[in-house]
Symmetry: C2
């Protein structure tokens, strides 16, 4: 066994059985010795992102949640099982991203150089005490950065950077963001301020609006306001934003944004076009806070699009060199632009307590939980 490798550790697992039962448990798994180009990371911080909840809980009916012997179980309604076919009866590790300390390293110089360093890791199985990774895949954090500070280096920061990059690549010059007071939304606002990009933030309460104006946001609109559409049209006319990233998905918000973009563009129209403005208007749906249908009232001509947006696909599209530049920016600005705020830090066993699960699964804007696999052991 390599120096620094304890040999085994706990890992959180999510199983959905063919019979329609969700089971969450802690497994003791082997911590393998790193290969020549690998490192073994002692994970100390891993956030619970909405995407992690999807993997952890699936479509389980949490009103049936039961706790027994440190395990949690719940029923998964039968209608959801076909879509889950490929994961049924497989005990899956969970946790997309996190950070920790390299406790053992392979013989390659690139791996050896990481020994003792605090690094960030992406790729699953992070709700675990130990995680093996390729040296080339980990992101070494600047000296003086704690694992908690570096836990959210990938999902939110790269998503926020990916939005701005997508805006540029698709020929737009300003953008719109919904559910904008989230950790992600705050990062996006900071990036836009740093890069001189105009951002129209849409939130659902005055308290959320204050979070954004406090960090310097200029355009913050409350979608519950009676004159929301008029305010949105004004903000779009002023900024020229023709692309939006929407975390809600369901309902009419995406369509309202396209309609307001069209109205803003038509304020400058000089000739009649029966197909509406020729300027392409785009909404990307990247989340599903509202899982209901998306309703499109097509009153925005023919130059419009709506589609899904996923960080993974974006990274594949831009390629490793461009992705590397974005990662380097995240590491350099992890304590400023990309700083995350957590509501509480919980251990692996705590994560399997029903009352704790209810809190981290509430998806309240501005609340986020951090798993520390070394806590409470």
């Amino acid at each position: 066994m390599a120096d620094g490798n304890p040999g085994k550790g706990l890992q959180l697992r999510s199983l959905i059985t063919k019979a329609g039962q969700l089971e969450l448990s802690l497994a003791t798994v082997e911590a393998p010795d790193p290969g020549p180009d690998e490192v073994l990371v002692r994970v100390e911080a891993s956030p619970i992102n909405p995407s992690d909840l999807g993997m952890l809980l699936g479509p389980a009916d949490l009103s049936t949640l039961e706790s027994q012997g440190g395990k949690l179980s719940a029923k998964v309604p039968e209608r959801f099982l076909p879509a889950l076919a490929a994961r049924l009866d497989q005990d899956m590790p969970v946790g997309n991203e996190g950070a920790g300390v390299v406790v053992a390293a392979g013989s390659d110089p690139a791996a050896q150089a990481l020994k003792g360093r605090t690094v960030a890791v992406l790729g699953g199985a992070m709700y675990a005490q130990y995680r093996i990774a390729k040296a080339a895949d980990v992101l070494p954090l600047p000296q003086g950065t704690t694992p908690a500070e570096g836990a959210s280096c990938f999902v939110n920061p790269l998503t926020a950077l990916g939005m701005v990059e997508t805006m540029r690549r698709e020929g737009h010059t300003a953008l719109v963001h919904t559910a904008a007071a989230s950790n992600l939304g705050q990062m996006l606002q900071k990036i836009c301020l740093a890069d001189g990009v105009q951002l129209v933030n849409i939130v659902r309460s005055a308290a959320q609006a204050k979070i954004l104006t406090d960090i310097g946001a200029k355009h913050v609109l409350d979608s519950t306001s009676p004159d929301f559409v008029a305010q949105l049209t004004d903000a779009l006319a002023e900024t020229g934003a023709t692309i939006a990233f929407d975390a809600t998905g369901g309902g009419r918000l995406a369509s309202q944004i396209l309609g307001a973009m069209e109205a803003a563009l038509n304020r400058k129209a000089t000739a009649f076009s029966r197909y509406g403005s020729m300027t392409h208007k785009q909404v990307y749906i990247y989340g599903g806070l509202d899982t209901g249908p998306t309703e499109l009232v097509r009153s925005y001509g023919m130059a419009w699009g709506i589609g899904g947006w996923l960080l993974t696909y974006f990274i594949m599209k831009i390629g490793p060199a461009e992705a590397g530049k974005l990662r380097a920016r995240v590491a350099a600005e992890i304590k400023t632009t990309f700083a995350s705020h957590y509501t509480a830090e919980i251990g692996l066993a705590e994560a399997l307590r029903p009352e704790v699960l209810a809190r981290y699964n509430a998806k309240t804007t501005g609340e986020k939980y951090l798993v520390n696999p070394q806590k409470g052991l």
Copy 2:
């Protein structure tokens, strides 16, 4: 006045007043002498496409239609007027495309060479006895082609070719078409047979299905059939179609197509992906037979898109050289692949008779009217 130029002619006009009144009339307009690089065309055939009806009638309430002194008038509900601002109080010519004979030509050799030729023209104001055009913009038809045969050289043929070309450019290998028994749909099926491209046709009746199977269509599905979605999924799995062109717009059809594409792709999935298939699924809405909202039940992962598709934007995107190739193909195959069928031929004065208008405005699949501005004078 140039040889062959009669000096003036009738032109159909559509006016919407600021007071909300639609007025259709015939105006006597000057037929200008062609400049050096221009030709004067005596228009003999011009189809009434759905896009022409949009320009001709706007959102007028046809239950208020009145005929007086050869003119037609109707009320336009006030709520539609803001979107029409740029055309209000302007007497607009109508008729996107058509064909006729060059009766006068400018001094340039390219213009002179067209004298006496039957040519097709795109660009509006074709519901008129005479139309001036740049020699470079007209499409000379093969010898022996009548104006009626060449009247629909642009909108439907280029739209059908544009769909196949869009499919190729966006990396798909087979496609889906709705309202598929239309003139356009039949052309698309013929192109696909000629080019070896698999096409899944969606229609709304057995009679429409027969139109397509009669010309060799392999996949024809009736969306009113109780097992439509299952049949569609089978056809998509067999053809691998991941792009669709939808003429209906409203309702759930676009979403059903995306869902069936996803289900077809998942039949081949080997590993669980909580974000669905990574293969991009696209629906382009190019018409609005159903003007109601589009409802998206987002059950097809994150790799999907819906958007507007307009021939004009497509032609701008591919540029004049590529567009020229498509036009040349249309001219060469105007009596076969791109042959159109017309229900009746009507004159300009006839077009302004309420009972005739009711017929050509019915938008019945398989019915299409041809305006002959030389008829009935």
